[in-house]
Amino acid sequence: MDFLQPSTWAEALTAKAEHPGAVPIAGGTDVMVELNFDRHRPEALLDLTRVSELAQWSVEGPAIRLGAGVTYARIINELGCRLPGLAMASRTVGSPQIRNRGTVGGNLGTASPAGDSHPALLAAEAEVEVASVRGTRRIPITEFYVGVKRNALEIDELIAAIWITPPSGPQQFSKIGTRNAMAISVCSFGLALHPDRRAVGTGIGSAAPTPRVAAEAARFLADALDEAGLWESRGALPRSLAVEFGERVRAAASPIDDVRGTAAYRLHSLAIMARRSVSWAWTDYRKAA
């Protein structure tokens, strides 16, 4: 096995081009588990922790460009106000030790349906910036997850950054786990209200082969809010609307039974999380008037 340790982004891309089988490693919270249990022995590890560009975030026009190597702990401490949904999701990741190391880039690289950041990224309509020696491209988050633990990266590409626009409205994140800490989600749900364009963003975790949006439910809610004039009036959210939204989110999921929970439980809890999320977010929206 080789241990490749580039110190610049250009070197990292060259290394990945020359060693397409190299497994990128940042916080190691997924990659090292595979190695420790001898489940996987890659031809090389590509350590990205020396590439300082990856550990930076910056404001770029209306958006935030979040380097793939920024840890969850830093998202919570530095971006809690600007990216509330992602920060809420980050607070539920593992433990303090895990949040000190784990990165959103790593979550995207692993692309597990249970990754905590995915519902927040989906709801916020993020884009993933990926690069290779051939160039750079931006992938809409809905096109990034292509199968169970598979993403849209080409073999020579690395994840550079995540582009997220700070929200014009409230965001929420909910997660069911067996306890408060160190819990892989049984299922999770992210919600973003986008009052500037009268849209709703959603993200479902651990309840389908990939993280996915509930597009029909989101359109239904946005249209219903529109028809009732609620985006402008900020009037009370009818309970029936929240319940119906929950049911439609549930309809968008296709979970399985596994060690963490049954499909039936996941569907039930998703409907409730979606209903509660929209109630909480709407309360925040009304208060913000």
Binding site: Q5, I25, G28, V33, L45, S95, Q97, I98, M182
Partner: protein, 162 residues
């Protein structure tokens, strides 16, 4: 491969490191520092918690090569030759050490908490120690130990020695 790193303030050169091994393995098997414990090897239990450049991490999830040129402090590095660190002393006195396997990780996590927060509330303590599992389930005594250590560390000089 060769790893050059600072461990508990000492410059260390470690040879014959396998590229896929963890910092925990390097500490325990190559540096004769068995304080950090190897329990779950997947970041679940926190028994292997060490400081990496001042930040508490699970050393089982740090690739050895990632520690190249970095500064590592293990539980062995918290005490002086002559005296245990007040956090260590508090764990002993409060009866927070049972089988002892989780203790080194809890000591490092508690040490970090008390560096950041002089008199943490109980929810703050529980949150800070959420990544450390005690298989003996002796959590109440562990919470007592953190409280005792906080009291002593925040007390004025002299009063603490009482």
């Amino acid at each position: 491969m060769r790893i050059t790193t600072t461990i508990n303030g000492k410059h260390r050169v470690v040879d014959d490191v396998w590229e896929g091994e963890s910092l925990l393995y390097v500490l325990r098997e190559r540096c004769a520092l068995p304080g950090s414990k190897n329990a779950c090897e997947q970041g679940e239990c926190g028994s292997c918690t060490v400081y990496l450049d001042g930040v508490p991490v699970c050393s089982c999830l740090v690739a050895a090569g990632q520690a190249q040129g970095r500064e590592v402090v293990t539980v062995e590095g918290l005490s002086s030759e002559a005296q245990l660190h007040p956090v260590q002393q508090a764990f002993i006195e409060a009866g927070a050490v049972q089988c002892g396997f989780c203790t080194p990780g809890l000591i490092v996590a508690t040490h970090d908490l008390l560096e950041r927060s002089e008199r943490p509330s109980e929810p703050e303590i529980r949150e800070a120690l959420a990544g450390n599992l005690c298989r003996c389930t002796g959590y109440e005594k562990i919470l007592d130990a953190v409280g005792l250590a906080a009291e002593r560390l925040s007390a004025p000089e002299g009063e603490a020695a009482r």
